[in-house]
């Protein structure tokens, strides 16, 4: 039996695809929810960093935000995963489903990167936009929410797309805390057939296809956004 036939038998006839589907679901769940949580954390951190105030409370939060970003950007994802799963979570008596744990840790990690992305997006919006908002009596925070952030987010959609792709690829480390993801599902096939080359090639192809599909999706979104702002008002 050639290697590909071995793979196919294990994947299809012996039910390896159940793992794969489970893994696909978990990978998607961790990456998508991680991105959403990361965005929320990132938005809060970037705004805290940008608040033009020297108030002691604001300063405290600014310091916290700096430390958070330094910590999560300064250590590898796997280390964060291991540290929290085997160290911090048991220490504080938190026992969660491993997939849910992974979602939280990926979200926290992504939040650090996302804060830098959002901050650069906000900085790229012309200062005149904030001034114009303030000049019709609107507060700093309302102008931020209604005028600056929408434009900033539009600017950074391609970068957020890249962050999403990075997250998907990084989810491959969750097998360290025993979560079934795409990588682990193909590893399991190799373990059963004693042949790793074909499963890993297929694994690589699966990631490649997912990433290409997302890239196309982002391009489509970008194009759509550009079009809407060029509309001359005739609906």
């Amino acid at each position: 039996m050639n290697n590909f036939a071995k793979f196919w038998r294990q994947f299809y006839e012996l039910g390896g695809y159940h793992n794969f589907l489970q893994g696909l679901k978990n990978t998607a769940l961790i990456a998508v929810l991680g991105l959403v949580i990361g965005f929320i954390i990132g938005a809060v951190i970037s705004i805290v960093k940008l608040i033009p105030s020297k108030h002691p409370i604001v300063k405290f939060f600014k310091g916290f935000a700096e430390a958070y970003v330094a910590l999560f950007r300064g250590t590898p994802m796997v280390v964060q995963l291991l540290l929290m799963h085997f160290g911090l979570f048991p220490l504080i008596g938190l026992s969660l489903d491993s997939v849910f744990e992974a979602v939280i840790i990926f979200g926290m990690n992504s939040g650090a990167y996302m804060s830098e992305i959002i901050r650069s997006g906000i900085n790229a919006v012309d200062v005149g936009q904030m001034e114009a908002g303030r000049c019709v009596g609107v507060s700093y925070s309302s102008t931020m929410v209604h005028i600056i952030l929408p434009q900033a987010i539009k600017n950074i959609i391609p970068t957020i797309g890249n962050e999403f792709i990075t997250l998907i690829k990084e989810t491959s480390v969750v097998s360290f805390i025993a979560v079934m993801d795409i990588t682990k599902s193909f590893q399991a096939i190799g373990t059963s057939t004693y042949e790793y080359f074909v499963p890993y090639i297929v694994l690589a192809l699966v990631y490649l296809i997912i990433v290409l599909a997302i890239t196309l999706g982002i391009k489509a979104i970008e194009k759509n956004l550009k079009k809407s702002e060029r509309s001359g008002g005739v609906k």
Binding site: Q129, G137, E229
Partner: protein
Amino acid sequence: MDNVLLHVEHLKKTFEKTAVLKDISIDILQGDVVAVIGPSGCGKSTFLRCLNCLEDPDPGSIIVFDDVNIADIRIDINEHRKNMGMVFQQFNLFANKTIIDNITFGPLNAYKKKLGFFKSIASHFNGGYKKEKKAQQEKALALLSRIGLEDKAKAYPSTLSGGQKQRVAIVRALAMNPKVILFDEPTSALDPEMVGEVLNLIKDLATNGMTMVIVTHEMGFAKEVANKVLFFNEGVIEEQGSPDELFKNPKSERLKEFLSKVL
């Protein structure tokens, strides 16, 4: 004097040790059209931006507006900015909003603020907000038709010409029913053929009695529309008076030199 709209006293502004405004005092009266002229870098924009506290004046400066000293950082400046419109050289229309939403954004925000947090949320359910929005949109459309741009209501700013953008920026300020409008070189970023349409709109406002402070390089316009001209030089008001006094009989050497260059 109860017709003083803006009372400026000992206004100073320092950027990192450079004194840009050095002790400026001036009263702006109801209905005044004040032209601010002077060489570039002399502090005209800084003066204008201090009037509505876009730049915080140095401590000790006094700007009385709405019967309070708005230079005092403890007051809620948003309340007073509602009554003080501003038009920028670069238009600064909200890029993510349609023309009509650009105009209604400020008034609708003021409506929500007046109601307070809970009532403003409630207003989304009891029809109050919808009613206010409709009223503001009608007002915005009326303003747009005044400048002949009602067909652009649903367009985005990026589709408008410079002259159109600036006229929208002016009616956006008008929609707040301000007591005074500040203009910072409103025609300097425009192609020459669009300068006229913007100046005509400002003249129109002047005719209707709007109080305005206009930083401008258009001396002809200043002569025609302003009743008071301030000549700024190196952070002080070097000379002030009616357009006739300043343009026909300049006293200081600096103003003579400046006029010889620009006229």
